[in-house]
Amino acid sequence: MSLDYLLDAANWSLTSPDGFPQRILEHLGYTVLALAIAAVIAFPIGLLIGHTGRGALIAINLGNAGRALPTLGVLMLALGLVGIGLVPVTIALVVLAIPPILATTYAGIQSVADATVDAARGVGMTEAQIAWRVEVPIALPIIIGGLRNASLQVVSTATIAAYVGLGGLGRYLFDGLATLQYDQVVAGAIVIAVLAVAIDLALAGAQRLLVSPGVDGRGAGNRPSTVRPEPQPEPAG
């Protein structure tokens, strides 16, 4: 394996439209856009289902069906329906990201102990207060775990944007493959993997900052009863 392309300083120029910095920014752009839209759609639905317990079966089945959808096929279908551009790529990535976010939000909210919710109700909290100030903070480690799963899948799948003429790090894979420049393919693959790890670490850091010390066991009381295992990761797209 040759690392020539990856280590060539010319490819790291900040101004070059085909350099790594520019491609990384594009790739991050597709990823963050898709994750944000998916979270805006999936989080409220998961919260509502987890809080009320209604519609759980439908949500789980839809989520599973979503997982079975090949993203490449969804992308091609979206391209056929709305034409070429950023929109179909975003649609495909959003469809990919919704199931893990929805499933873990629902599972996290639902796993909050009944006694805790009853206690919150008993001290006079409204349903909205219970959801926002009790259930969400306690479920946050699981919810962020789902977001991390989704981000891993979206980062790796955003490479397909390059297949349909957009930018992002997939460019190196497809361009290198088309011109048989294997060192370019290697460079792209390594940068994507490193980016995926970096995003995962950033979200892990966010998890540490956002999750209350009382919830994840770092608090003085150290009551393990509310610590829950993180959801299992899923294969990257």
Binding site: P70, S156, F174, V185, V186, P235, A236
Partner: protein, 218 residues
Amino acid sequence: MSEIWRYLETNADDVLTALVQHIWLALIPVAIAFVLALPLGALVHRYVPARHIALTAGSVIYTVPSLALLLLLPGLLGTSVLDPINVVIALTLYSLALLVRTTADGLDAVDTTVLQAATAMGYRPVRRWFTVQLPLAMPVVLTGLRVATVANVSMVSIAALIGIGGLGQLFTRGFQLGFYLPPIIIGLVLSVTLAVIADVLIVAIQRGLTPWARAGAR
């Protein structure tokens, strides 16, 4: 709709070939990973250091994007980029990462008093493992197998981007024909149907292997 049927009629052979290739490419890795995961999961269940190594290795594998892995493997193994063996190895790695973990979780979940009872009844370790511990761990192990299978069926399509067979080829065909929808829709429907059938089959196997779960159901 009629366009889809016409496409199916004229390209029946191609679609069938793609479907069969897809089944092989998706299921062989799951089968290999399942066989390897049982001993590895047992090891992880038993030795704490092995657990740390396995879980770390698993999360590292997950962060490597499938398309990147498909393109890196030829360089590491010396195989051709177009060799389906790359797909099999890549998907085996992903499946293994998941299944070792769920196998260990399943074995962890077996009640130790049940194992002690088996020992007291005279079960030797090997027989106890195969006839008591493993069957009781099966529900959790098979749940992991379901996730791995469904994920594999949808992931194989990516291989078409680098020219390897499977239903993903119907997507790239639609792309090359200027986003011609019939092959794309056929590929999507077949892929999802395949995932659902595989999932239902594993649930049926699970019901067959764990008759006590039904007997005890309230």
